[in-house]
């Protein structure tokens, strides 16, 4: 039996409300590519990626065509390169970054993530080398994404790494400010994240796996337009039901992609990931809930409810929910956020509060190019502390733009959008950052 209402609902989600599969991401373990000779290691890496993921783009396009649902990106994540390259004793890992770039281009994918170091408690042999090479590696490649995990609820926060990342971000901005759009600093990084720039393939994962990221802020906003003025529990229920339907679509697409690529299906990450396009905004969902403009009082509460309802709807809909699954609040990628910054209702301090209840952190925020490395480190430390204490992932992707002052606009292009330069607190945090060391894990992490 044909149910016109239901078919129309799905059709409108796709045609008018920007529902899409944001990414089909293949996670590939590179542990079997480790070699003390880095040339040999890079050859094995290239061969493995171009073999395992050779059909990824074709299958992604085929699914998009057959199911009439846009598949925006096809991506690959790999085992953190600091673990893979450590055996080689190389002085820098540029060669590895370029190999990833070359392999990604050979198979035609949009991004490859995993130029990554995990240092939540301390550095191992490859970590320092990888982190030191980040600015150059990102400046000299096109589609490689990097991440560094500097803390976790279980380990505390590695403040030496936090201090170093402030310097890395400053240095990278001098080479090319766009490099920082491809790099994320995490606390509690997840190992099955299909989204970029922070995706990598964790060592606990299967050899190869398919993860899917679905998005659709516009779908949630459209659903909420039907419950204007009703109590917030009705709003939460509406978000939940919408998230359920969207995640079911993700589950279907992931299952089919996994089958056709002969790879196990991993997780669906239902993240409301905005784009600068009209009607694809998380800020506008919050405004639909009843805020005149995002950033005003009530924003944190509305976002907390949104994030939770998205997770609840997603979890029932799918065999394995993973990744970040919640609401992203990048500034430059969200027309509503950009407007709120320009109007002066949204500032960094409010965004920081919002990151305590959303699924990630300070994301795609342009700051003045003369912001000091220690101030950036202190922003990272604040975010990591929120993540550590609240047992959630937090991240920092700030973009210092040389020569630009507060209020000026900067264009990142494509899905990354554009953003006004935001004011940072100018009082120094240097003496704290220069202390280094480790912030101990919080008491509630001791559960054994």
């Amino acid at each position: 039996m044909i149910d016109i209402q239901k078919i129309t609902e799905t059709s409108r989600m796709i045609s008018d409300q920007n529902l899409d599969v944001r990414t089909i991401t293949m996670g590939i373990s590179l542990l079997d590519c480790i070699d003390s000779d880095s040339d040999r290691a890079c050859q094995k890496i290239y061969d493995k990626i171009t073999t395992k993921a050779k059909d990824l783009v074709r299958v992604g396009n085929q699914i998009a065509m057959e199911y009439g649902i846009p598949v925006i990106n096809k991506r690959v994540t790999v085992t953190p390169i600091s673990l893979i390259a450590a055996a080689s004793q190389d002085k820098d890992y540029l060669k590895y970054a370029k190999t990833l770039d070359r392999a990604a281009k050979a198979i035609g994918i949009d991004f490859i993530g995993g130029y990554t170091a995990l240092v939540p408690k301390g550095y191992q042999a490859g970590d320092r080398t990888l982190i030191a090479s980040l600015p150059q590696a990102l400046a000299e490649t096109d589609v490689v994404c990097a991440s560094v995990n500097v803390g976790s609820t279980k380990t505390g926060i590695n403040m030496d790494a936090v201090a170093q990342m402030g310097q890395v971000i400053t240095e990278a901005a001098k080479l090319d400010y766009m490099t920082n759009a491809k790099m994320v600093v995490f606390c509690n990084a997840v190992e099955d994240n299909p989204f970029m720039a922070g995706g990598f393939h964790g060592v606990g994962e299967a050899d190869t796996v398919i993860n899917v990221g679905v998005s659709g802020p516009g779908v949630v906003k459209a659903a909420l337009q039907n419950v204007k003025g009703q109590p917030l529990d009705v709003v939460a229920e509406t978000i939940k039901q919408t998230a359920f339907k969207v995640t079911r679509m993700g589950q279907l697409v992931g299952t089919i992609a996994a089958e056709r690529l002969h790879v196990p299906f991993g997780i669906v990450d239902l993240s409301l990931a905005p784009t600068p396009a009209v009607g694809d905004s998380v800020a506008q969902i919050l405004e639909e809930i009843g805020l005149a403009q995002v950033g005003t009082h009530g924003t944190t509460a509305a976002l907390a409810m949104l994030n939770d309802a998205v997770k609840k709807g997603g979890i029932m809909a799918c065999s394995h929910v993973g990744g970040l699954s919640g609401a992203f609040i990048p500034v430059s990628e969200d027309a509503g956020m950009i407007a709120a910054v320009q109007a002066g209702t949204l500032n960094i301090e409010k965004l920081e509060a919002m990151t305590a209840v959303c699924s990630v952190g300070l994301d795609m925020i342009a700051i003045p190019g003369d912001t000091s490395a220690t101030t950036i480190s202190a922003m990272i430390a604040d975010e990591a502390a929120i993540g550590m204490v609240n047992n959630k992932t937090t991240a920092v992707r700030v973009i210092p733009v040389p020569g630009k002052k507060v209020g000026e606009m900067v264009e990142f292009g494509g899905l990354l959008g554009y953003a006004p330069i935001m004011q940072v607190n100018e009082s120094s945090s240097a003496a704290m950052i220069e202390r280094g060391g480790l912030i101990p894990a919080p008491i509630h992490s001791f559960k054994n």
Binding site: I4, G68, M249, L252
Partner: protein
């Protein structure tokens, strides 16, 4: 493969005829059909069986695009699984 073909747009003479004729030339069988006026728009849903052998979905979609321009309506063809996944447990 079972697929849903949706046609939405301003009502006029010959939409069903033109769509059905195109389906016939592609040997796509109509299993079920429902049609109504929704929000002042002609809205037609067809459950169809697309022959699996030698089906080139890209080609079908491209021809449908041409047909939709010709008729001034929006036509989409999607594997029926996507609707089942979203609306039925």
């Amino acid at each position: 493969m079972k697929a849903i073909l949706t046609t939405v747009g301003k009502d006029k003479v010959g939409i069903i005829a033109a769509v059905s004729q195109w389906l016939a030339t592609k040997e796509i069988n109509i299993i079920d059909l429902s049609q109504t006026i929704m929000d002042d728009y002609f809205t037609m849903m067809m459950l169809v069986e697309v022959p699996q052998a030698n089906v080139d979905f890209a080609q079908l979609q491209s021809e449908l695009q041409d047909l939709s321009v010709e008729l001034g309506v929006e036509i989409n063809l999607r594997n029926a699984e996507i609707y089942d996944a979203m609306h039925f447990l």
